[in-house]
Symmetry: C2
Subunit: 358 residues, 2 copies
């Protein structure tokens, strides 16, 4: 079975097997990890080890805090403006797809002034803005962007230079897919259910200079400063998801770290885009320089064939290839836990399908 | 191993064993339930079945909506006032312990006007207010109370009569321990990690007349009306926790439902309180009429013996008997998944310990 789900997505099989082996007896306790106090020594040791592994994998500088928060990126769409702006502050957003647009909408709902420093709606979200075209207001509280758009399959091949303005990145669908330079960001957030672990957990990596400025009326569970002061345990955290995330970090480390992940992810993406571009049946609409390594949307011409494709693919054990319901078409997500063999199987199926239906 | 954790708490062993059996192959999919799309047919069927079971167990009337939200009760401390008050509205809270006080503090942080309709701080949280003494302002947006205080071990033996003012209850540590009459409440919320499932999920049961009145600037993830409109899938929900909750509901149903849970819980609590009251070494400070069935705090005299008690109990496989760090002492939580045999073992150990140290 090869799982191309965009999220909740495939987890590494060794991680699932270990979670299964320990499910009713974790750490020699005779209990499930789901059943132990988050404030006990055993769980706090787990929590600290998970953070230490993440810090090592991403080379997170010591002046950044790591938060393990509840929920996913949608909670952060609110938490970012509530924590990083005073009333009346200006913010800047780059709109490059469905998820950027949702972040922008939520900031607007909260009454925050948003300027679009770039808007790719006119390109139908098939590209990112030119690096040289970007201009930012030095008075903005932050610049927000989405390095990888999960639905559009559009990815920034560069990190925007925002000068002294903190750069905030929704890395939900790209974090841990390759090395990054954390020091270029003011704040990074990422829902877990792609490259980290089960849904219900969200990582936040924040420069400590950005703490302490939350509005007085931010709900406690969204308050970075309070979460940081309590080691992400202001209240009961999602302990099982945190545990699985720790296993995933351990797996990445054992596989060789993020450089190895990057090489594998590059190879998987190249294989699939190559097959699409070489075919007369499949098409990816994104400009080549900003195609996502993680999420590959593609369409069939004629589109009527898509239902047949999905049915026949599922019969071959290739699952979750539907495009997002908001855009249709097809999509293969190639997160860390998707092996090269899965992409080889998909490409083989696509060629065979084209031979029969093309 | 007998686990008396206050939360995350013991889960029924058959639930854990089934989760283990299905962990890498759920529902014949060849995938973990953690790896499938929350919008796919298989998961939405699971989600709907879980809600249907919960509705049957609690006899939830059709004009109540059930929400499966991220996080725990602490998020609801903010969500309740943000959803149920307009700016300038008045609210009433009953302060009967640490968790009531936290709910009150959060409402205050958000700028909501709070009147304490009762305050048991003077009794050191060892009782609940007299039923007849309660007076509520008919203009209040709601009355909030905590039917069971997890730390103090204090429980309301009655449901306050608030007339036409909606009654809001934090049932985190009492839900599903016995039948309740949902129709007496405007809103019930409950963090999962006691009687429902893994941490990271929170149930909200809300009268539909209370929807639609959220403030314009409530974060989307805390907006009951938006959650209800999207079947609790405004964004990716905590799918694994939802799945385990469904298994717990199925287990309660198979055991005979909430009347059976109530009889068992009553018997467990009676056994433990009886042993405490009959001893010269142990003491429970709560007035007898309002002692919790779920959380039984007790102290030793002399208190110096408590560390020895915990060490020797752990050696006998009796774990998580520490009192909450804010109050010290000892505590045994007797949620649904804690069998009578666990309480018998605890009581036996307590007698033996008293014989040796008393």
């Amino acid at each position: 079975m090869f799982n191309f789900s965009a999220g909740p997505a495939a987890l590494p099989l060794p991680v699932l097997e270990r979670a299964r082996a320990e499910l009713t007896d974790w750490n020699g306790s005779g209990l499930s990890v789901m059943e132990v106090s988050h404030r006990g020594k055993a769980f706090t040791a787990l929590a600290e080890a998970a953070e230490a592994r993440l810090r090592a994998l991403l080379s997170i500088p010591s002046h950044y805090r790591v938060l393990f928060m509840q929920g996913g990126a949608t909670a952060q769409f609110a938490a970012v403006p509530l924590n990083l702006t005073a009333p009346g502050a200006k913010t800047e957003y780059l709109n490059t797809g469905v998820w950027s647009a949702k972040a922008i909408e939520e900031a607007g709902r909260l009454g925050v002034a948003v300027r679009l420093a770039a808007d790719e709606a006119a390109s139908r979200y098939t590209r990112v803005p030119d690096r040289q075209s970007l201009r930012f207001d030095a008075d903005a509280a932050y610049v927000h962007y989405t390095p990888n758009e999960t639905i559009g399959g559009v990815e920034f091949p560069y990190v925007p230079d925002t000068g002294s303005v903190p750069l905030v990145a929704d890395m939900s669908s790209t974090i841990l897919s390759r090395p990054i330079e954390v020091g270029r960001f003011g704040l990074i957030y990422a829902g877990a259910q792609k490259n980290i672990g089960p849904a219900g957990l969200c990582l936040v990596i924040v420069h400590e200079a950005l703490l302490g400025g939350a509005r007085a009326d931010v709900p406690s569970v969204l308050d970075y400063t309070r979460l940081a002061a309590h080691g992400s345990m202001l209240n009961t955290p999602p302990t099982f998801a945190w545990y699985v995330a720790g296993l995933v970090f351990e797996w990445i480390e054992a596989e060789g770290g993020l450089a190895v992940m990057a090489a594998r992810n590059r190879a998987k993406a190249d294989l699939l885009y190559g097959a699409i571009d070489a075919s007369g049946l499949y098409r990816n609409p994104v400009e080549r320089t900003c195609r996502s390594w993680m999420n590959v949307p593609f369409m069939l011409a004629p589109a009527e064939l898509e239902a047949t494709f999905l049915r026949e693919a599922a019969a071959e054990g290739l699952t979750h290839l539907e495009g997002h319901r908001s855009v249709g078409g097809l999509r293969a997500s190639l997160y860390n836990a998707v092996p090269l063999e899965a992409v080889e199987a998909l490409v083989g199926f696509m060629r065979e399908f084209e031979r029969r239906h093309g």
